[in-house]
């Protein structure tokens, strides 16, 4: 349960409408005006420092941790330095758009139009990208097979080595960076890195000063600070303790849980101030927090006190949302900010690493019941029952957390790509489901989604004469995939270079090995591992469609190629088309029902895609690697594709998740769908893949229900599927929430790789979640 304090903090999160905040953008511009002529990495560092020095700090009347990104929680921070254009286009749309709305004041609109936009137009990341993007890549993007991401926002999708900073302290880190800088005075990155670390130390001290003054009842000297009136009489004492903690962690190694949580959160906030990006994730918190948790226990800290501190931390992760363009918000609806927090798994030697903190971090979801942190649990054959049971208990709450990852396949997936065994065993998750090595990998994990179904459509349309046999058709689909992959990787590489040229992230780089040793920002290849992750989407629709064509045309001769193309072209609107459509849906087996012949087609195409992308190198000397997840992109990606032979109508969504069967087509239960997924070459999807499973709450009731879910998860491990997540909420509740959102403001559901407040999702996504096959007890 939340305490009265944390309940008040939670309530305040949603008390007011979200707003657009220009504060960071204005400070950034102010700094940029003063740094013309400096190397870009220094300009970024100085602008970052300016934000830390001047942004408005708010100390509320309750919280035990400090660190606010914006004056009001859940404000949308715009970054015109990445792209000023979409913001200008959408200024009037923010409050009324279908997804992720924000209020914006008339004054701010004016400021944006008159001050910010003119400054950044022509000199943003996006300008660099567009100027350097080959024409044929731009043309291919218009074919709607792929769209390169992060061309208008920070890259994010990374895990900094937070644990190391907790252990060493910022002071020691600064000493190291300065030493390296002094040894290589010509290296701009090291200069910028040292400046950033010092800025963070000063930032911590800035909080300390404000909190100290408040605790002593003195006026706060900082002109950009606000201290809310205390909620409780003992607040002065709490503030004094907070000031002590801040004073210590400004430079020194952490001593206990309080130190560790405070410093970890301030690092998170600083990294957001620097990048303003989605999914700068938390990594394996049950591992790096453990010594501090145990130290607190040792020192006699009360259980309730530690739990409340952790609640404060969890709530903090919900104060940050990420404002996206309308288009991007269709792909990533409902603020998947991506404070992904991983527990469980194996250690560097392959032994089980779960501990008492793993269980506690899972259990906290029962208190907070919010979408962040995005809890993930790593499972392996030797995971203890206690961990699985705790995970199952929390899953049963219905918030879609934790999602489960499988060491039995993910570790090997990394070692196959040249990651050392010890590093592979330390994997964690960024954002939604993207697998990454914490503190050692800059993976551009969400750089592009690739619409394989659209490739099939293009292949079919370009051959009105038909194909000699089924093999020829599949080859043509594969050739189309190859063609667009070659263009996609070029687009991704230009985006990669655009970040290097305009938007290095020196603070983040200092916290990612081996940037310091290499003296290079992560955007310039400083990280130990440098993949680029591109998601192949549409396995289920491809398998289903190609299977229908194989059987109906090439084996049964039930209709001609021309007949099929005409029906697809007119979206099943011709006389008698509906009979064919129904036949294609109902009389031919579908992916997700454990039918080898269909599943094999899905496997073949996704494997082909995966092997094809891995042939390409990226701009940092790394390679492309496949993933297969959609987040919420199966809706817009479906909108880009006409009718397909699986009976799907033009514009209808694609299968959700990435690996999930098409909605409503998996009729053989959740064991069969898992087995279908297990037949894919899952080890190839090093960038991560996603499987949604929905259970009715009654299926998981009682001790027997819990045991069932644990068994299901154990089988998932054995089947070497990378990821699984659950929605456990009944249809009636969701329908009622659609009809009466006011009664369900706190309903958290799983979207895809992340959870969101149901009432904050646009109708199409809500419908998608409602329509996913619900596995009932039978």
């Amino acid at each position: 349960m939340l305490t009265p304090r944390t309940q008040r903090i939670k309530d305040a999160l949603f008390a007011r409408p979200r707003r657009i905040s220009l504060e960071r953008a204005l400070l950034y511009r102010e700094s940029y005006l003063e740094t013309e002529g400096e190397p870009v990495v220094m300009r970024r560092a100085l602008a970052f420092r300016r934000v830390l020095e001047r942004h408005r700090i708010v100390i509320d009347g309750d919280d035990l941790l400090v660190g606010n990104r914006t004056e009001e929680p859940r404000s949308g921070v715009v970054s015109p330095e990445m792209s000023p254009y979409w913001i200008l286009d959408e200024l009037d749309e923010f409050p009324v758009r279908p997804q992720d709305t924000f209020d914006v004041s008339e004054e701010d609109k004016r400021t944006y139009r008159e001050v910010l936009y003119p400054f950044w137009a022509g000199r943003s990341l996006n300008d660099w990208y567009v100027a350097h993007r080959p024409d044929e890549v731009g043309a291919a993007e218009k074919d709607r097979v792929f769209a390169v991401a992060q061309t208008d926002k920070g890259q994010g999708h990374i895990i900094a080595d937070i644990g190391e900073v907790l252990d060493r302290g910022l002071g020691a880190l600064l000493a190291e960076v300065e030493e390296r800088r002094d040894a290589a005075p010509e290296n701009d990155f090291l200069r910028a890195g040292a400046l950033c670390v010092r800025a963070v130390i000063d930032y911590v001290r800035r909080y300390e000063r404000i909190v100290r003054e408040a605790s002593e009842g003195r006026p706060v000297a900082d002109p950009n600070a606000f201290v809310a009136p205390a909620s409780t009489p003992g607040r002065a004492r709490e503030l004094a303790r907070m000031a002590d903690v801040l004073a210590h962690v400004a430079t020194e190694p952490c001593r206990d849980l309080y130190d560790a949580l405070q410093l970890a959160w301030l690092l998170c906030v600083a990294l957001q101030h620097e990048s303003n990006a989605s999914s700068i994730s938390l990594g394996r918190m049950d591992q790096y927090l453990l010594p501090y948790y145990r130290a607190s226990v040792e020192a006699g800290a009360a259980e309730g006190e530690m739990r409340e501190l952790l609640q404060c931390f969890y709530l903090k992760t919900n104060t940050v949302v990420f404002v996206r363009s309308t288009d991007s918000a269709r792909f990533f609806a409902g603020f998947p900010t991506g404070y992904n927090l991983v527990v469980g798994g194996v250690d560097a030697e392959g032994r089980d690493a779960a501990n008492e903190l793993s269980l506690l971090l899972l259990d906290l979801q029962r208190d907070t019941r919010l979408p962040q942190p995005n809890l993930s649990v790593r499972l392996h054959a030797g995971s203890p029952d206690a961990l699985l049971r705790k995970a199952a208990e929390v899953i049963r709450l219905g918030d879609g957390l934790p999602q489960c990852f499988n060491d039995e396949v993910n570790v090997e997936s990394f070692t196959r790509r040249g990651v050392t065994l010890a590093d592979a065993r330390d994997y964690a998750v960024v954002g939604c489901v993207e697998l990454s090595i914490p503190g050692r990998m800059y993976g551009l994990h969400d750089i592009c989604m690739f619409n394989m179904v659209r490739c099939m459509e293009l292949a079919m349309r370009s051959h009105p004469e038909g194909f000699e046999d089924f093999e020829a058709l599949v080859r043509e689909v594969e050739a189309t995939i190859d063609h667009y992959v070659s263009l996609m990787v070029r687009g991704c590489n230009v985006c990669d270079e655009a970040h290097r040229a305009t938007s290095p992230t020196p603070l983040l780089s200092v916290l990612v090995h081996d940037s310091l040793e290499r003296g290079a920002d992560i955007t310039s290849g400083g990280a130990r591992y440098n993949p680029s992750g591109v998601q192949g989407v549409g396995t289920a629709n491809l398998a289903d469609s190609l299977y229908v064509v194989k059987r109906a045309i090439f084996e049964e001769g039930a209709l001609t190629w021309a007949q099929l193309l005409e029906m697809l072209e007119r979206d099943w609107q011709g006389a008698g088309d509906e009979v064919w459509r129904q036949r294609f849906i109902n009389r031919y087996e579908k992916y997700g029902n454990d039918v080898d012949e269909v599943d094999r087609i899905g496997r073949r195409v996704l494997t082909h895609y995966g092997e094809e992308v891995a042939r390409y190198e990226n701009a940092r000397g790394g390679r492309f690697q496949p993933g297969s997840y959609t987040v919420s992109a199966h809706i817009p990606l479906g909108a880009a594709v006409g009718a397909t032979p699986d009976g799907r109508r033009a514009g209808e969504q694609l299968a959700d998740g990435g690996l999930s069967p098409m909605v409503g087509r998996d009729k053989s239960g959740p064991t069969a769908s898992l087995l279908s997924v297990s037949k894919l070459e899952n080890v190839l999807d090093t960038n991560g893949s996603l499987l949604n499973v929905k259970f009715s709450p009654s299926t998981l009731e009682g001790e027997a229900g819990l045991a069932r879910l644990v068994a299901y998860l154990r089988a998932f491990c054995r089947l070497k599927i990378q990821h699984i997540q659950f929605n456990v909420v009944d249809r009636a509740t969701l329908l009622d929430a659609q009809a009466h959102p006011e009664n369900h403001r706190d309903l958290v559901v799983r979207v895809a790789g992340y959870s969101a407040m149901f009432v904050e999702l646009a109708r199409a996504i809500q419908d998608d979640i409602i329509n996913r096959t619900e596995h009932e007890l039978s």
């Binding site: 509906e578 009979v579 064919w580 129904q582 036949r583 849906i585 109902n586 009389r587 454990d594 053989s668 239960g669 959740p670 064991t671 069969a672 087995l675 299926t699 027997a704 045991a707 069932r708 644990v710 068994a711 299901y712 154990r714 089988a715 054995r718 089947l719 596995h775 007890l777 039978s778």
Partner: protein, 283 residues
């Protein structure tokens, strides 16, 4: 030799209340009894039959006179018209049920054969259960156990659990309403137990048939006398109603209300008071 086959209507994976753990239930067609509340009416006749779900029909070949759809089940585009019952061999069925092995093993589940009355085909049943055992898969049957046993020893060796119905306790009423002779069942329960078999009693609680205190008490004391220690209480539900409609059959219990939680709790209390381990809906 011709492989042994039986008429199967359905192989239902991820069944959760039919013998423990995650199970696959195989439904054999054919039953000598006629319980008015039967929730699997498609399994009464041992012959294949056609079911028609009006709401799925898209009138693909409408008759000018508006008469019933003439489409053959194999041509029906939506599955509105379906042929229920397909002859399947032991090997064919085994290949399907072994697919969920990982789930059985992790959940202490397995395969359950139900019906109909699966004991009508004891040759097939034993062969199939033995084949499951050879694959290391745990087995169970759902049965009235009220038909003569051809070879109790063989059956018990092949079957890890017998889920045996205790319905109308009074013999005369039972014979009249359902055709089941409780005395035959009891004798079979004894021989299964004496051959070392495991029996779980199942009591469907049907309004107007088995829900009165006298019936419940009588069943409970019979279960105890026989030496069975565990009972599943199965509250009446209307889930079979749609099947009667699609088979064009009358359903006598239409609109009979579900039991209240209190009614169910009362039955459970009676079972527990008698010292039986009691599970609602089975596990």
């Amino acid at each position: 030799m011709k492989p042994i086959a039986a008429t199967i209507t359905n192989v239902q994976r991820f069944s959760l209340h039919d013998g423990g753990g995650i199970r696959t239930v195989v439904f054999l067609k054919g039953c000598p009894f006629r319980c008015p509340w039967c929730c699997n009416p498609e399994n009464l006749s041992s012959e294949p039959e056609i079911s028609f779900k009006e709401r799925l029909c898209i009138r693909c070949s409408p008759r000018p006179d508006g008469g019933p759809c003439q489409t053959r089940p194999e041509d029906c585009p939506t599955g509105a018209k379906e042929l229920l019952g397909r002859s399947r061999t032991v090997d064919d069925l085994l290949a399907e049920v072994v697919r969920d092995r990982s789930f059985y093993e992790e959940s202490d589940g397995g395969v359950t054969v139900s019906g109909g009355e699966c004991l009508l085909r004891q040759d097939f049943l034993c062969a199939f259960l033995e084949a499951c055992h050879e694959e290391g898969i745990s087995t169970a049957v759902e049965t009235t156990l009220a038909v003569p046993l051809a070879d109790a020893g063989r059956l018990v060796a092949a079957c890890d659990a017998f889920l045996v119905d205790f319905k109308i306790a009074d013999r005369a009423r039972s014979l009249e309403a359902t055709g089941i002779d409780p005395e035959v069942r009891d004798a079979n329960v004894r021989s299964v137990l004496s051959a070392g078999g495991r029996v779980v009693a199942r009591m469907p609680i049907i309004p107007g048939f088995t829900d009165d205190a006298a019936c419940v008490d009588s069943n409970v004391s019979r279960i105890r006398e026989l030496g069975v220690t565990r009972v599943d209480v199965l509250p009446f539900h209307q889930l079979g109603q749609g099947k009667y409609d699609s088979l064009g059959r009358a359903y006598g219990l239409r609109d009979v209300p579900q039991l209240s939680e209190r009614d169910v709790a009362e039955v459970v209390a009676r079972c527990e008071a008698a010292g039986l381990r009691t599970v609602v809906r089975g596990e």
